[in-house]
């Protein structure tokens, strides 16, 4: 078996931070996804264009580069702008926050596409009927649209979550002590790189498997009222 030379606890700490970052990022991605979908389906041309630019840019630029831009670029941009107005400030973003925000921002674009598909899957007649009996747009969204949308969105969101978990490994480049970073430190300390990276990969695999099982149960629960023939 894998001999971790007493560094196993570091990997376990890393797993916890990885999951914490992933959960924060996913929450942000879900919120941005809903906002993005609202933008994509809005009547206003400005909102539609903004949402389109968001998803287009995120799809076309590598995650690593976006992480570097947010972690190094944004503080510099704010400092430079403040300097022009005569303020001398130094901004340091916490890597946990920078990582969660960047990953959440990236996967918000993917969640947008998932939610858009889910919205289109809700039968039009139901929305018309709800309008016809006098529900306001907000009430229609709360009573008819969202309860069905999230069921249609579940498979897509499950995929987003699984890809997102793997993407958190990129935050190791901004020194956040998550799973890969801790495996890296341990590997250098005892000079057993293969052992530790392999152990880390198995832990990622375990997280993926647990997520997949959870997704199956959640989908079964969400679809409990649906007749299958």
């Amino acid at each position: 078996m894998l001999d971790l030379k007493g560094y196993g606890w570091m990997l376990w700490d890393g797993v916890q931070i990885t999951v914490a970052v992933a959960v924060c990022a996913m929450a942000l991605a879900l919120a941005l996804g809903l906002v993005g979908t609202t933008g994509k389906l809005a009547h206003s041309k400005v909102a539609r264009t903004a949402a389109d630019i968001y998803t287009t840019v995120i799809r076309g630029v590598p995650e690593l580069l976006l992480i570097l831009i947010v972690y190094y670029g944004v503080p510099t941009l704010i400092q430079d702008t403040a300097e022009k107005f005569g303020y001398d400030i130094i901004i340091d973003i916490n890597p946990f926050i920078a990582g969660s925000i960047t990953i959440g921002f990236i996967y918000g674009a993917f969640a947008t596409e998932v939610f858009r598909g889910a919205y289109l899957a809700v039968p039009r007649g139901q929305l018309e009927a709800a309008h016809a009996i006098g529900m306001s747009r907000l009430l229609v969204a709360r009573r008819v649209l969202l309860p069905q949308m999230w069921r249609f969105a579940l498979p897509g969101l499950g995929n987003v979550w699984i890809v997102l978990i793997k993407a958190t490994s990129l935050i190791s480049v901004i020194q956040l002590p998550e799973l890969l970073r801790n495996a890296d430190i341990a590997a250098r300390a005892v000079r057993l790189p293969f052992t530790f990276y392999f152990a880390a990969s198995l832990l990622y695999l375990a997280i993926t498997v647990v997520s997949m099982l959870g997704q199956q149960r959640l989908e079964a629960w969400a679809g409990r009222g649906i007749r299958r023939d």
Binding site: E63, L64, I69, K166, S169, L170, V173, P193, S201, T208
Partner: protein, 244 residues
């Protein structure tokens, strides 16, 4: 914004973009050669054939690419002596080789998974008809199943190509000077953080949407027999107008 610096850095960034495209094409080409047999073995009936293939695909799809790159580039150091004895150490010492190896293994796993789905979705009637004509085994796959499966797999494969193109940015972490790597070096020297990273991002955008555009052209061409003929389309439009 320091536009002069951006213009001065463009030639270097282009060099990096060329390495990015080179790594992408090389890994895609080798990965596809492995993916086709793997995709067919994935749905074989014999567990001795499908079990190792499924384990491989599951491992490489379920772990982050960055871990795979570290495992191959840094991890190989743990087996330096046996690798030296086998004469393989000269390869594993090179970040370029390790990058291509990990990207290839990664894309082969994803592509095999895509092809598995496509082969399963080939209409059974076509397979049955081919069997009725006396085709079987290799001939059946070469003439009927694979051409159809490739066409079915194309949209998913174009996504995989875009993902791989973006994933190549990770090789900058193992010191290769691809587009991201060059951008990081220029930033470290000039402190022009957002100018350079955003320029690099725009170059990635151009390459990505270039690739997507090319795939759309190929898809359009390959689906020619499924579209209406141009003269038919005019006729349909004319009829629609007449009804109105």
């Amino acid at each position: 914004m320091d536009f002069e610096l951006i213009i001065r850095s463009l030639p270097k960034l282009f060099e990096g973009a060329i390495l990015t495209v080179e790594l992408t094409l090389l890994s895609l080409a080798i990965g596809l050669c492995f993916a086709v047999p793997l995709g067919i073995m994935y749905i074989a009936k014999n567990p001795l054939i499908w079990a190792p293939v499924r384990a491989y695909v599951f491992y490489f799809r379920g772990t982050p690419l960055l871990v795979q790159i570290f495992l191959i580039y840094y991890g190989s150091g743990q087996f330096r002596e046996p690798l030296e004895a086998a004469g393989l150490w000269v390869f594993f010492r090179e970040p370029y080789f390790c990058a291509v190896l990990s990207l290839t293994l990664n894309t082969a796993a994803y592509t095999a998974y895509i092809l598995r789905g496509a082969v399963r979705n080939v209409p059974f009637g076509e397979v049955e008809a081919a069997r009725a004509c006396g085709m079987s085994g290799v001939l059946l796959y070469r003439r009927i199943v694979l051409p159809k499966a490739f066409r079915l797999a194309l949209p998913a494969y174009s996504n995989e190509v875009v993902f791989l193109l973006q994933s190549t940015s990770l090789v900058s972490i193992i010191t290769l000077l691809d587009l991201t790597g060059i951008a990081r070096i220029i930033v470290a020297r000039s402190f022009a953080v957002y100018e350079i990273y955003i320029t690099a991002g725009i170059l990635y955008l151009i390459v990505t949407y270039g690739v997507l555009f090319a795939f759309r052209k190929v898809e359009h061409r390959l689906s020619g027999h499924l579209r209406e003929r141009p003269d038919e389309r005019e006729q349909v439009a004319a009829e629609a107008l007449a009804v109105r």
